[in-house]
């Protein structure tokens, strides 16, 4: 019983600051105030009708999709190479793949600011996609290498002795079996970009304002309670994403 209570308290401690935005998003107060004086849906209406909020939301979505695609393009081949082959400097490669996680985001942001500026990509969707795509590499790499390590190579041998060449083995056996892990990796990459603020602040400029950047600017300039709405939506999106990933992991997909 005691451990349960302790776990509950710990969860409360971790979640309370995040969950507090939920009631605030329904608040009637014109600024941040807790507890809210009364409840309404006015700020939700404002969010869903204001161009100033919807455009960053769309930007974030498009950029997250692009970053996810880029991350997967980088990580999937790297993960196969890393897990399946022995080579010199393997641990260095691992460290390199993890480096976006180790380098402080402000430093990466500054570096991208200079680098993308020279390529005339600062303030463009593509620029943010490139930066976010790289930043999401560690989390996707971790998830996908873990999936690959758990993959039974005998499945591929069984497929080959059944008459399937390398390509058909990959398409009919390797990929379907790995798909849940790949989906989870992709989802994490998506969320990592969708939630990223620091790098976006530096490089998104006026042209590719993302939701977190817009929130930051909004809180500095106007402390608009719509932020609580956006926060609530973001948290819900993450929760849904994590639930979805749990679901994918539990149940291998039933058909090829």
């Amino acid at each position: 019983m005691a451990p349960l209570i302790l776990a509950f308290l710990a969860a409360l401690f971790l979640l309370a600051p995040i969950l507090i935005v939920v009631p605030m998003s329904f608040s009637t107060a014109i600024s941040f105030q807790f507890p809210p004086p009364a409840y309404w849906l006015g700020y939700y209406r404002k969010f869903f009708t204001s161009e100033a909020w919807l455009e960053p939301a769309l930007n974030s979505f498009v950029i997250a999709l692009g970053a996810m695609a880029l991350t997967m393009l980088l990580v999937v081949p790297a993960a196969f190479g890393y897990v399946r082959y022995r080579f010199r400097g393997k641990s260095v490669v691992n460290l390199l793949m993890m480096s976006p996680l180790i380098v402080p985001h402000v430093v990466s942001a500054l570096a991208y600011y200079g680098f993308l500026g020279r390529l005339k990509l600062a303030g463009t969707h593509l620029g943010v996609i490139v930066a976010h795509g790289v930043l999401a590499v560690p989390v996707a790499f971790l998830v996908i290498t873990a999936t690959l390590k758990g993959f039974d190579r005998n499945l591929e041998r069984a497929a080959m002795s059944a008459g399937a060449g390398p390509l058909r083995t990959f398409v009919h056996v390797t990929l379907p079996v790995l798909r849940p892990g790949m989906l989870v990796g992709a989802l994490f990459a998506f969320l990592s970009s969708f939630n990223e603020a620091v790098v976006a602040l530096f490089i998104a400029g006026r042209g590719a304002v993302t939701l977190p950047k817009k929130m930051y600017e909004s809180i500095r300039l106007e402390s608009d309670p719509v932020i609580a709405v956006v926060s609530t939506l973001l948290v819900s999106a993450v929760v849904l994403g994590v639930l979805a990933s749990l679901l994918v992991r539990r149940r291998p997909s039933p058909n090829v």
């Binding site: 039974d152 005998n154 499945l155 041998r157 069984a158 497929a159 080959m160 002795s161 059944a162 008459g163 399937a164 060449g165 058909r168 009919h172 056996v173 379907p176 079996v177 291998p252 997909s253 039933p254 058909n255 090829v256």
Partner: protein, 354 residues
């Protein structure tokens, strides 16, 4: 009449140590051949080379006169059953079994028919639409067997297929496998480290040790006339004595520390002379009767009762002796007692010492 022929197979992973060291083996069509040996003896590597998953460093593999050595696994017509089943988790039982037929582009109608046939053969006709995770270990292995057989392979390879099952299920599956072998008639090469499995199922056993073949022979010959001391020790329970054959004495062997015994004169003549290892199986030892020439006096240290038989472990002048007696122990046989044991001359198997 070799159907599957391994000629001087060598596999080395690092260029120095040979995991498989010059293995040559002729396997007849329809034979059930077991590769038996301790782990790391090269038996599985040999199987993987037959399957095409490992490329031999040297040597050749031929099937019905055709050279397979450099052919890819999917260009061979060889089925494989793995210890961990290796069923495709995202396919139903029927789709797993149909997979080799799909890959080999069998006509649709024939696919369904063959899958049905195979599932009936392994007794899983009612499980076609289940997923592998919904089956027990034994059932999963039957599916793997059906998948390995469905495309009429030239050879079926089995890599410790019963290793993950519990004892009673293993015995049941041994019988089942023999039945399937009889019904299908396919050539089977079976890898195991379990000597009982090898004894009960095989037409012939190939005993591996440190990458080399020690002996290839039918089970009873391997048991009663092992070619090396390793084979005698690895298969079954054994008593080994060191001895010297005198070529002129007509079957007399001098055992180190135990005196002269009478062995089979014919065997002694074949060996000629010199140092030998003398093998006497524990069940061939008996309490001494007057008619037996070879007697040893031993002090009983431990008696292990198996119900249907008794294992008596004793000591004769520093030599450990193991004797197995059918039925319940006699009164004279108790721990601490000294008894005289004996064996008949033909029960001592002589292995030239190298």
């Amino acid at each position: 009449m070799a159907y599957l022929r391994l000629a001087g197979l060598v596999k080395s992973y690092d260029g120095r140590v040979n995991a498989v060291d010059d293995v040559s083996l002729d396997i007849a069509r329809g034979e059930f051949l077991t590769l038996l040996g301790p782990s790391g003896s090269g038996k599985t590597t040999t199987l993987m080379m037959i399957a095409g998953f490992e490329e031999p460093t040297r040597g050749a593999i031929e099937l019905a006169g055709e050279d397979l050595t450099r052919r890819k696994p999917y260009e061979r017509n060889i089925g494989v059953v793995f210890q961990n089943y290796a069923l495709f988790p995202h396919m139903t039982v029927a789709r797993n079994v149909a997979f080799p037929l799909r890959m080999r582009r069998f006509p649709r109608a024939q696919q369904a028919m063959r899958v049905g046939q195979m599932l009936r053969l392994v007794g899983l006709a009612d499980y076609a639409d289940r997923y592998p995770r919904e089956l027990s270990g034994g059932q999963q292995q039957r599916v793997a067997l059906a998948r390995g057989l469905v495309f009429n392979p030239d050879v079926l390879l089995l890599d410790e297929p019963l290793g993950a099952l519990d004892k009673s299920l293993r015995e049941q599956m041994q019988v089942e496998l023999k039945r399937i072998h009889r019904e299908v008639g396919v050539t089977m090469v079976y890898v195991t480290h379990d000597q009982t499995e090898a004894m009960t199922m095989s037409d012939r056993i190939a005993v591996f040790n440190r990458g080399r073949l020690e002996q290839v022979a039918p089970p009873l010959e391997v048991y009663h006339r092992p070619r090396t001391r390793f084979v005698g020790e690895f298969i079954g329970d054994s008593n080994f004595f060191r001895g010297t054959v005198d070529p002129a004495s007509g079957g007399r062997v001098e055992l180190d520390g135990l005196g002269l015994i009478q062995a089979d004169p014919e065997a002694c003549r074949r060996i000629g002379g010199g140092l030998v290892d003398v093998l006497v199986r524990p069940e061939r030892l008996q309490l001494a009767g007057p008619a037996l020439p070879n007697t040893i006096s031993m002090k009983i240290a431990v008696i292990v009762n198996y119900g249907d038989s008794v294992l008596v472990i004793g000591d004769a002048g520093g030599h450990p002796i193991r004797m197995r007696m059918a039925g319940a122990p006699l009164d004279a046989v108790r721990e601490g007692a000294t008894v005289t044991v004996a064996w008949s001359p033909t029960d001592a198997h002589l292995i030239p010492h190298v």
